[in-house]
């Protein structure tokens, strides 16, 4: 199984311990993930020029590290996002990357779950796990994060997905958690 991990974490972050635990748990399962550390990459924000839909379909006109992320994304069976939660949403850095993956959808609409969504460009997309970490998080923010993750899964053309929230000073048994998740996925 090929796994891509996208994260906004760096080694100065107190949640780096949990991130390391996640990578170790993947290694114990014999998986060597591709890791995309946003803070070590150059990623510019999407400017909604729609070139990726109406000029050069499927390709972003901004040339930076996103091209590499897109390649890894389509080679992966599982896509894990490890993100800080702000206001019930993942961080601006993670959001910047997700916005730049818009070329992987078509401009045209299709209907799913009685709502309009952009149709997929590709036949196959990786499975999806979202792991959020936060120092202080309210119950409302937790619910919002769960709702947002579900909607993103529909947008990424996944019927099933998993999400987890790591709160301050919480340690996680990622080995157990991933095994359970992957079975459910």
């Amino acid at each position: 199984m090929r796994v891509l991990v996208l994260t906004d974490i760096d080694d100065s972050n107190s949640d780096y311990i949990n991130f390391n635990a996640l990578i170790n748990a993947l290694s114990q399962s014999g998986i060597k993930p591709d890791i995309f550390f946003i803070k070590k990459e150059i990623v510019k924000p999407c400017v909604s020029c729609y070139s990726c839909w109406i000029k050069s379909p499927g390709s972003c006109r901004i040339k930076d590290s996103i091209d590499n992320l897109s390649k890894l994304f389509f080679h992966a069976d599982l896509f894990i996002i490890f993100a800080r939660i702000d206001f019930g949403c993942y961080s601006a850095e993670i959001k910047k990357c997700l916005e730049r993956l818009i070329p992987n959808m078509l401009p045209f609409f299709e209907e799913r779950q009685n709502k309009m969504y952009h149709a997929p460009r590709y036949r196959k997309y990786p499975e999806y796990i979202m792991i959020g970490y936060a120092e202080h998080i309210s119950e409302e923010e937790k619910k919002l994060f769960a709702a947002l993750t579900s909607l993103n899964a529909v947008n990424m053309h996944r019927d099933k997905h998993r999400h987890f929230i790591i709160e301050k000073n919480q340690t996680i048994d990622f080995h157990k958690l991933l095994n359970n998740s992957l079975i459910k996925l």
Partner: protein, 227 residues
């Protein structure tokens, strides 16, 4: 008197729907004698501008929907504002402050804006504001269309315009302290158009833009990373 601060969350290079909504609200509030200050995330607000998002009595955040959430630039501005709030909150007075949210999406169903409005609400709470209501708008792109045909324009936009006007009246009452009910809920509105017609309009909209760039129909489906 304080200003009503309007924050535009769009960082598009084109003229955005969020800008259109901002202009409408700005001119209506100015007509009522209320001063406004507009900030855009595109121009990276300065520290003193972020401080106005904390200290002014009323702020309005206008945001498009990018993958179910606000654009990354708006999230960054919110985070920077919260960081600043944390450092100055002890020096703030006890006056009540309010936040409104408006979100527009290109999908037919306005419910796609729900998470964006909820995120704006959470941001407001974190910087000590009362969430006073929001509007989620479906078929957002139509707001800037049909302007040349006034009868069709006013018929299609009727429900959306009505909601925006109600929000402006609510802001006026809060500003002039005539409104006892400060808290508000979200309202989701759409244009008077059927889903099928909207789907056809958007299909031909994207197709015609691609054609102008020399694309044929099959080119739209090109997969650079294999199928």
């Amino acid at each position: 008197m304080s200003n009503v601060v309007i924050l535009i969350g769009s960082h598009t290079l084109r003229k955005s729907v969020s800008q259109y909504i901002e202009k409408k609200i700005e001119s209506a509030l100015n007509d009522k004698g209320i001063n406004t200050l507009t900030l855009t995330v595109k121009s990276n607000p300065t520290q003193s501008e972020l401080q106005k998002l904390i200290t002014e009595k009323i702020i309005i955040v206008i945001s498009p929907v990018y993958i179910d959430a606000p654009p990354s630039g708006l999230l960054k501005t919110m985070k920077d504002t919260y960081t600043l709030y944390d450092s100055i909150k002890t020096s703030l007075d006890d006056n009540k402050r309010y936040i409104f949210g408006i979100s527009n999406c290109g999908f037919y169903e306005p419910i796609h804006t729900r998470c964006v409005l909820n995120i704006i609400e959470q941001f407001g709470r974190k910087i000590g504001r009362v969430y006073s209501g929001g509007i989620g708008i479906g078929c957002g792109q139509l707001l800037t269309s049909f302007n040349t045909v006034p009868i069709i324009d006013s018929y299609l936009k009727g429900p959306v315009e009505k909601s925006i006007n109600e929000l402006i009246n609510h802001i006026e009452k809060l500003y002039k302290e005539e409104e006892p009910k400060a808290q508000g809920t979200n309202k989701f509105v759409n244009f008077r158009i059927s889903k099928l017609i909207y789907k056809i309009i958007t299909y031909f909209y994207w197709y015609s833009l691609g054609r102008k760039n020399g694309l044929k129909l099959k080119d739209f489906y090109y997969c650079p990373y294999g199928r």
